[in-house]
């Protein structure tokens, strides 16, 4: 008997009524939002429950919503996969723009280690309890978090382009 999305939703609502919300089917992946303070317990439940069995954390990544309200400036997105029934889910946690902090899930999935470091590297999201939260892809001397919208994509040191023809403003040169 395959795992239905309605079963997942009912189980979550029964156990975390105020914490989990906004269930939706986005294309072919079942998605919902979890309070950022409760991600550890929800994820542990999803992993350890006898019927849900989301035994694999596929991905952790960040999103920046610069136009959203202050408490929903950043999102951390988790993708989980149940290998037994081959069902995937997407979990979103929204974070405050001034103080983007969330619990690390490395205690549940060791594979989250590098993915959380990457998310920190590009978005500056702090994962509390991470064993080694430092930059992973960018150079250590970098001061910006380049995937945040306030940082320019282009490098300021470019000298062979005429800015008038490449759509740059003087601010990001």
């Amino acid at each position: 008997m395959a795992l239905e999305t309605s079963d997942i939703q009912n189980k979550l609502v029964d156990n975390f009524e105020l914490i989990v919300r906004d269930f939706s089917q986005q294309h072919d992946i079942f998605s919902f939002e979890v309070d950022s303070t409760s991600i550890l317990e929800v994820m542990q439940f999803l992993r350890d429950d006898k019927t849900l069995r989301f035994n694999f954390l596929t991905d952790v990544c960040g999103i920046h919503y610069p136009d959203a309200e202050a408490d929903r400036q950043f999102a951390v997105v988790y993708h989980m996969h149940n290998w037994v029934d081959n069902v995937r889910i997407r979990i979103k946690c929204f974070l405050n723009g001034e103080n983007p902090e969330i619990d690390s899930v490395t205690s549940l999935f060791l594979g989250a280690n590098w993915q959380e470091r990457e998310t920190y590297d590009f978005f500056g999201i702090i994962f509390k309890g991470h064993p080694q939260l430092k930059r992973i892809l960018n150079m250590d001397e970098m001061v910006s978090f380049p995937m945040r919208k306030e940082f320019p994509l282009e490098d300021g040191g470019r000298t062979d382009k005429d800015d008038r023809f490449f759509g740059r403003t003087t601010d990001n040169c």
């Binding site: 150079m139 282009e154 062979d160």
Partner: protein
């Protein structure tokens, strides 16, 4: 020798008589250096693939005295930087350059090594001349083997005409100092 197809390097300018030939030391040293440039390929992407073709029998960089690829910077004369250099890799490139013994020359092969190319972005070094001095730039994305060979030949011209004292000249010291290389 008369019917062989071996090309000899042209005799440099000088005085010739029976049993002697006199010319400047600079010219002789330059001739020797230019025709045995040992390349150090620093290949990170597609330009490196083009360089592999340049090394192969079809284009054969060995015809210009560069058949011996040196994968140790200490035994190399000519650093060929081929491909995108990420900012994180810049210190390594610099270290490789510093490990090379004088005299040393640098060719930036392709758009990325010369200027950052299409990668106008925060993570990519916008041309290797931001961290090390460059002698010859080869344009192209990626350049054809012919273009890389042309770059090598241009470098040979530079090497031939270089004074043996250039490396201790104040201009050269100043150039290195501007890159904080001592």
């Amino acid at each position: 020798m008369s019917d062989s197809k071996i090309n000899m390097v042209e005799t440099p300018e000088g005085y010739e008589g029976t049993g002697f030939f006199a010319t400047k030391l600079d010219t002789v040293v330059g001739l020797a250096r230019a025709n045995s440039l040992w390349p150090l390929p620093f290949a990170t992407s597609c330009c490196g693939i083009e360089f592999m073709a340049t090394m192969g029998s079809h284009y054969d960089v060995a015809r210009f005295g560069s058949e011996r690829m040196s994968f140790s910077p200490r035994q190399a004369d000519m650093l060929l930087v081929m491909g995108t250099i990420a900012k994180k890799m810049a210190p390594i490139l610099r270290q490789v350059y510093e490990q090379m013994a004088e005299p040393k020359w640098v060719i930036a092969v392709g758009a990325c090594a010369s200027s950052g190319g299409i990668f106008d972005t925060y993570s990519v070094l916008q041309g290797i001349d931001k961290v090390i001095p460059v002698d010859v730039y080869v344009p192209g994305c990626p350049p054809r083997p012919e273009q890389i060979l042309d770059g090598v030949m241009r470098l040979q011209d530079l090497v031939k005409s270089e004074s043996v004292r250039r490396r201790s000249s104040p201009e050269y010291q100043e150039l290195l100092a501007s890159y904080n290389i001592s």
